[in-house]
């Protein structure tokens, strides 16, 4: 039960990160290896903002929640125009280019922020006891054991992630920029022939993708900590999630994130974390063999 809730928190954050990666791949056909570094940058910027803001924890955190994703988005847009556009969005060259961006971001962070892991205080953090139930001789009984609890902040993370994911969905399906993004994704050349500024759409998509990773990191940083090497895991897990969920499929990505994290949490508790990682990797291999378009991806022409 506790494993499930902890799993749900990390699943929510993973879903946000993976949706960013999936969006970038879907629209731009760019495999963004630097995605994890945008995540890390979000966490580190959150620490800076909270640190500089001072005052009540909620002020710094609230500020970080806005400033970090926006800043990271701007940096990403800059990287898109200055680097990815220059290599013509060629699939192989963008992989190499984003590896380069990865190291630049990582090393600059190490030089400025340092090698320490630093916490950000959550804006609120009330302990909420969780009920547990048991079948006794008297029948079904509910009770609140000491030590079994979550915090209001963790529940808020789950809620906030849900809201953001819903917003992304509405952005893609209901708005004009979403329409331009989907048209660009479906047929870049025809999009150009109908006046869609594909370059600008790409920059916006890359910024939104990185911004989502940064937002996920701001949400998780009060629970874990900000560290310059924290980008590796989210990158790897996002790739797993995006492959299982189907490239470019938003619902698929979310379901896959929940699947991976919940099973990871439960298997880790009852067996071992290594087994969980092995099973996740095995699942990816199976999906790649039997459903290359992902569990939820439609067949592509």
């Amino acid at each position: 039960m506790l494993a499930t809730l902890e799993g749900a928190v990390t699943a929510a954050v993973l879903a946000l990160t993976a949706v960013g990666l999936s969006l970038v791949f879907g629209v731009m056909r760019v495999v963004n290896v630097a995605h994890g570094e945008f995540f890390m940058l979000g966490a580190v910027l959150a620490w800076w903002v909270a640190h500089l803001a001072g005052g009540h924890a909620a002020v710094g955190f609230g500020l970080a929640l806005v400033v970090a994703p926006v800043l990271v988005g701007l940096i990403a847009a800059l990287a898109d125009v200055a680097v990815l556009k220059r290599v013509g969005y060629d699939p192989e060259r963008t992989i190499v280019a984003t590896i380069g961006i990865l190291y630049i971001i990582q090393q600059v962070t190490l030089m400025t922020y340092g090698p320490d892991a630093r916490p950000v205080e959550p804006p609120f953090n009330t302990r909420i006891p969780l009920p547990w139930f048991e079948f006794t001789d008297q029948g079904f009984a509910l009770y609140w054991p000491w030590g079994l609890s979550t915090t209001s902040y963790k529940l808020a993370v789950i809620g906030a992630s849900g809201v953001v994911l819903l917003t992304v969905r509405l952005l893609m399906t209901r708005t004009r920029i979403g329409l331009l993004m989907r048209a660009t994704q479906l047929d870049r050349e025809t999009a150009l022939a109908f006046g869609i500024p594909v370059d600008r759409v790409y920059a916006v998509v890359f910024a939104i993708g990185a911004g989502l990773a940064a937002l996920a990191a701001v949400l998780i940083v009060p629970i874990s900590q900000a560290h310059y090497l924290m980008g590796g895991d989210p990158l790897l897990l996002s790739f797993i999630v995006v492959i299982i969920g189907g490239l470019g499929s938003l619902p698929g990505t979310v379901v896959a994130a929940i699947l991976i994290r919940l099973s990871d949490g439960i298997i880790s508790v009852f067996f071992s974390p290594t087994l969980a990682k092995i099973l996740a990797t095995l699942l990816v291999a199976l999906v790649l063999v039997f459903r290359p378009q992902g569990l939820f991806g439609g067949a592509r022409a």
Binding site: L179, L186, T190, P197
Partner: protein
Amino acid sequence: MLELDAINAGYGRAQILRDVSLTVAPGEILCLLGRNGAGKTTTMKAIMGLLPLMSGAVRFKGEPISDLPAHRIPGLGIGYVPQGRRLFGELTVAQNLEIGLMVRRAGRDTLEDVLGLFPRLRERMQQRADTLSGGEQQMLAMARALCLEPELLLMDEPTEGLQPSMIEAIRQVVVLMRDRGTGILLVEQRVDAVLSIADRVAFIENGRNVDTLDASALRADHSLIERHLGV
């Protein structure tokens, strides 16, 4: 209104078009004929700015447009019906048309006008474009281009794979647009399908345009066509 001045273009280092020159006047249908692989589609893409020119110039209403970024060209009033339709398949009919309307910020009146020309689309506004029949898809490709109120219309084999009644419907729309003063550059395989409506015919062979003739001359002397197409 459209003028290609000795353009050379191609894909990467492979040059396809060599010194292609042609003009289209307002209210005129210029038909571009040539064998498979002659460079007809490449000509269209070069006009739309989708291919960089190696040399030469494309002018529209007297202004050179070949230096503009590709996405600025449709906004000048050039509608494009690509070969193979190239609809945004996962989007609905309404969304495909909306993308056309956005190009020059056209409004409801334009949409109503276009749907008046293609009533079958009106019943299917919420249907996904890739679930339309072949004929309906071609109508949508035409309608999408008309939504930007084009002054010049480029159409690449709009009757490919269609039955005669559908070809007739499309031909009527083309004639109507011409009568409204739109310049039309029409690529076709089947000479007979267009000879009756074309004003002039340009022949292209191996990326060079060999001749431009009045359609009336071709109608009078069919052997001219056979000579130029080598069939």
